[in-house]
């Protein structure tokens, strides 16, 4: 098996997550101390220079995001950790929080210092109730040891809505409202939680921070693909031998992920497609497998990196059926706020069901293509914009599978 590179999972299996001393023994909270010895602008500059980009899916430069919140004038600022890991097939954030909660807390505390926030929230996926105890234990330990100083962290549990992984819907949910996205701009770094400057970062993003502060931006920026440096945690599911997780540098290709790390397809079957990034990810055919798993490289092939879920389908799988089920997922998870997503996800499932049951026509493919095109550029938030990707990319790469099912 090829070599992994563990940055965010550096303490995985090495420490007892409930013992802060284990974390400290591995050098934990040293980065926080170092960060606090730097002035804020230098610290943010360092994070910027590392070119760390958000690991939640949008891939925005983390340091730049911080600088917006730092520059914003306000009596209160917030740091929010997006731990609403709702993408099916994704469990990277759970791994971090289960095994090394302090790295998240340290990352958040560094961010809080950088932007001048005194209050933080961890918005934990509703289906991870066991993590709430772990996180709270870790927070109280860090407080007891005096690491957090005036920074408070509260754990909030989601209620199972996929859309609450969208940062503004998550903010609404923390505010006690219906979990629905807000229009942007304004973006959270200028107007976020309760209208105050807010940094929302993913668990994996925060977990990178202590290491970057400790080892320096140059070291980090030299790992993987320069435009999206560092590592990425991938969780492998579907028709693949090693159904597990790997943290790899971003210059690793999809092919390496599947064949080197994943051990290839079971039963000697042929590869059909891989969906990367979660349910809203694009389906990628064989000929594009040499693409590195970095943000811009993926964008160039019309795909996304998303949450890092890798869902492999072998040659026996009915891709139209798979996409129909995905369409049902989005029909179920649309919040209903904006018209094209609310109506569009339902119609997408309706038309996919029609095609999948052998009643579709070429006109249906035209209609669903137009619908997907419109949704991807018109919906209010990322959910509706990304929902058509599985449909559109399979029509693009596996058109024959669709035509085989038409009337």
């Amino acid at each position: 098996m090829a070599e992994e590179m563990r940055i965010v999972l550096r303490n995985y299996g090495k420490i007892d997550p409930l013992k802060i001393d284990d974390y400290i023994a591995q050098g934990g909270y040293k980065a926080l101390e170092k960060a606090r010895s730097m002035d804020r602008e230098t610290l943010i500059e360092e994070v910027k220079k590392s070119k760390l980009r958000g690991r939640g899916g949008a891939g925005f430069n983390c340091g730049q995001k911080w600088s917006f919140a730092y520059q914003a004038q306000a009596d209160q600022k917030y740091v929010v950790c997006n731990a609403d890991e709702g993408e099916p097939g994704t469990y990277k954030d759970r791994l971090i929080m289960e095994n090394d909660p302090h790295t998240l807390i340290e990352g958040m505390a560094i961010c809080a210092y950088a932007i001048g926030a005194t209050k933080g929230y961890i918005y934990c996926r509703g289906e991870y109730p066991h993590l709430v105890g772990i996180l709270n234990t870790a927070i109280s330990q860090a407080k007891e040891k005096g690491f957090l100083k005036d920074f408070d962290i509260e754990v909030r549990s989601g209620a199972g809505a996929y859309v609450c992984g969208e940062e503004t819907a998550l903010i609404e949910s923390i505010e006690g409202k219906r979990g629905e996205p807000r229009f942007k701009p304004p973006y959270p770094p200028s107007e976020g939680l309760w209208g105050k400057p807010t940094i929302v970062n993913n668990v994996e993003t925060f977990a990178n921070i202590p290491v970057i502060v400790e080892k320096g931006a140059d070291w980090y920026a030299s790992i993987g693909v320069p435009s999206y440096p560092g590592t990425k945690v991938f969780t492998l599911t579907g028709d693949i031998n090693n159904k597990t997780f790997f943290e790899v540098p971003t210059n690793t290709t999809i092919r390496e992920l599947i064949y080197k790390y994943g051990g290839g397809i079971p039963g000697g079957k042929k590869f059909k497609a891989v969906q990367i990034g979660g349910t809203s990810g694009a389906f990628i055919p064989e000929e594009l497998l040499d693409t590195p798993v970095a943000f811009d490289n993926m964008a160039a092939i019309g795909a996304t990196l998303g949450s890092g879920a890798v869902f492999v389908l072998d040659e026996t799988r009915d891709i139209v059926d798979v996409v129909t089920r995905i369409a049902k997922f989005f029909e179920h998870e649309s919040c209903g706020k904006c018209a094209p997503c609310r109506e569009g996800t339902a119609r997408m499932y309706e038309i996919m069901s029609k095609i999948n049951s052998g009643k579709g026509t070429t006109k249906d493919i035209e209609t669903i293509s137009r619908l997907g095109r419109v949704m991807s550029c018109s919906c209010l938030c990322g959910l509706g914009q990304a929902a058509p990707a599985p449909v559109l990319t399979t029509i693009q790469h596996f058109k024959a599978d669709y035509h085989a099912k038409l009337v």
Partner: protein, 576 residues
């Protein structure tokens, strides 16, 4: 303020920083379609029909929410934009009932208009109506959730403008729907029936309970004598229903029109508006003199009464015991007027024409039967009268005028201004001043209490006693004054509250009102009418004088208490 330069469809435009694309486009005469946008509400950006292309952006941007930036290049009608808008409209229409021909908003529907503008000719998606039940639980408002397009303007009107919080969203995705909060039916919610949601609705999902057929049946019944009263705010707005500008239909032509559609007698609520001033003014003076509960609140607006009974049941003693002019009229028409006219009150079918949906509820209150009959048999809104006028085929430009019938048809300028926010206060001050000081009021115009500002205040010196008054319109403004009273911090003696923004001219039964600017035009028309009145003080109304001489004998007297005053009941909405 700094200016931002941008280009929209090749046209250069410079707008203040902070403007949206929608505002900038309007500057250069480019119409961008909207559905969830409302000029007096916060931006929602949920319908997405206003999307535009912004150079350098893969995503289309909602014009209503996107702030302009220096050098921005916007395309509002590129093929990508047109495809998106058409598709979104098709999606919305695909579960919208195709009942345009029988819809109350036919030809006055924002969705219908856009479907026409974008040449939607067929359904790209299977037409499926949700099949949700109509909510007919209130006497005032009917909701048809099948027609709802989830723009949420009604929720904004109910929660932000009115702070009533009767509407919310339930379920998600395409199962999402606007529902009365805390209950299955509107009647179980805190709804005060003000009808502001009707104006906010771009389609026909919320309407008044239409009772045109009941009116036609009464007219057809030879045993019924159909008598009407017209509320002060109606005439200004009725013109809009027949294609004229606010205030453009002369009063005598309006009266003639009402006779044409079948009313046997045409009287005026303005008469009892003047009467209200006498009763309420004296009540205020009594409270001031005898140390009664202050501040006293006006009680003309039934939406406000419902609000007070729902949210401020502890403050009901502050409400004037005066019935609203509608109900004073109802109680008198089947007693005093019937007697004077020699008509059997049992035969009188009393119809009021109101700018208001809550009036339908008010007329149905069990306590409103002091004449021995239901005091007001039927309430028709301005919109319903508009429909009856259009049904009649009358050409109002050619109709010869007619005057009001006797004994309850005369009115003063003070009654006219009841229709605008601050009007009741101003009318009361005109009378109270003269009653207390015994001097003639030189300038009857109390301009401090006029206009669209949410809360207005004034002070009047009554022979050394300074009376402080406040006026609020729109219930969220009322709430501010009420919280002050509840906290024991209200500096006022007398407070006028109108449930609807702008007062009755913006009432829930008025022609569909799309902006506060439209309300302002009606308000302007009302003060013109006041200026043109020969008599502008309620206590100088000659017919009111006759009423007191012959029937009531004195303000707040025995007969008044029997017919013109009432009491209020907490709504006991337990969940609040």
């Amino acid at each position: 303020m700094g200016m931002v330069n941008l280009t929209i469809d090749g046209i250069k435009v410079s707008v203040p920083k902070g403007s949206t694309i929608l505002q900038a486009a309007k500057e250069v005469g480019i119409k961008i379609p909207t559905l969830c946008y409302h000029p007096d509400q916060s931006v929602k950006a949920n319908c997405r029909v206003c999307v535009c292309e912004v150079e350098g952006n893969r995503l289309l941007q909602a014009a209503c929410s996107m702030p302009v930036t220096e050098g921005m290049v916007v395309k509002t009608r590129s093929p990508k934009v047109i495809e998106a808008r058409k598709t979104i409209l098709e999606l919305i229409l695909s579960n919208h009932p195709q009942e345009c021909l029988t819809c109350a908003r036919n030809q006055n529907c924002e969705l219908q208009e856009l479907a026409e503008e974008y040449s939607i000719r067929e359904y790209a998606f299977e037409h499926k109506v949700r099949g949700l039940a109509k909510d007919t639980s209130t006497p005032s408002i009917v909701r048809d959730p099948d027609k709802c397009i989830l723009c949420r303007r009604c929720i904004d009107a109910c929660s932000v403008t009115q702070s009533v919080y009767a509407l919310g969203i339930e379920n998600r995705g395409h199962h999402a729907m606007v529902v009365p909060s805390m209950g299955k039916d509107l009647i179980d919610s805190p709804c005060v029936m003000c009808g502001q949601c009707i104006h906010a609705c771009p389609v026909g999902a919320i309407t008044e309970r239409e009772q045109i057929d009941e009116f036609l049946a009464a007219v057809a019944d030879p045993d019924k004598i159909v008598v009407t009263q017209i509320a002060p705010a109606v005439r200004l707005a009725i013109a809009e229903e027949v294609g004229m500008k606010p205030g453009e239909m002369p009063m005598d032509v309006f009266v003639a029109g009402l006779r044409q559609i079948g009313f046997d007698y045409v009287l005026h609520t303005n008469f009892t508006a003047d009467l209200t001033i006498i009763e309420e003014g004296n009540e205020l003076l009594k409270r001031l003199k005898e140390g009664g509960v202050l501040p006293m609140f006006t009680s003309c607006s039934p939406g406000w009464i419902n609000f007070c009974e729902t949210y401020y049941p502890d403050l009901l003693d502050h409400l004037s015991t005066c019935k609203s002019p509608q109900q004073m009229f109802g109680a008198l028409v089947k007693t005093y007027w019937a007697e004077k006219m020699g008509i059997d009150p049992a035969k009188i079918y009393s119809v009021s024409i109101m700018p208001c949906t809550a009036k339908k509820y008010e007329a149905s209150r069990p306590e409103m039967q002091d004449s021995g009959y239901r005091d007001v048999d039927l309430v028709l809104t301005t919109r319903e009268i508009g429909r009856l006028f259009r049904m009649s085929g009358i050409d109002f430009t050619k109709l010869e005028g007619s005057s009001f019938d006797s004994w309850m048809g005369k009115y003063t300028g003070a009654a006219v201004i009841f229709g605008a926010t601050g009007g009741v206060m101003e009318a009361a001050l005109r009378t109270v001043y003269e009653v207390v000081t015994g001097q003639e009021l030189k300038d009857v115009n109390f301009t401090a209490v006029r206009g669209m500002e949410g809360i207005k205040e004034a002070e009047v010196d009554l022979n050394g006693t300074v009376v402080k008054v406040a006026v609020a319109h729109g219930l969220s403004n009322a709430r501010k004054l009420m919280d002050q009273v509840r906290a024991g911090e209200s500096p006022y003696h007398f407070i006028e509250i109108m449930a609807c923004p702008g007062g009755c001219i913006g009432g829930g039964g008025q022609p569909i009102t799309k902006s506060n600017a439209q309300r302002q035009v009606r308000i302007d028309a009302i003060y013109v009418e006041d200026e043109n009145c020969e008599i502008r003080k309620s206590h100088e109304n000659p017919e009111v004088k006759i009423l007191y001489d012959e029937f009531l004998h004195e303000p707040l007297g025995h007969k008044s208490h029997e017919l013109l005053h009432t009491h209020y009941h907490p709504k006991n909405k337990k969940y609040l």
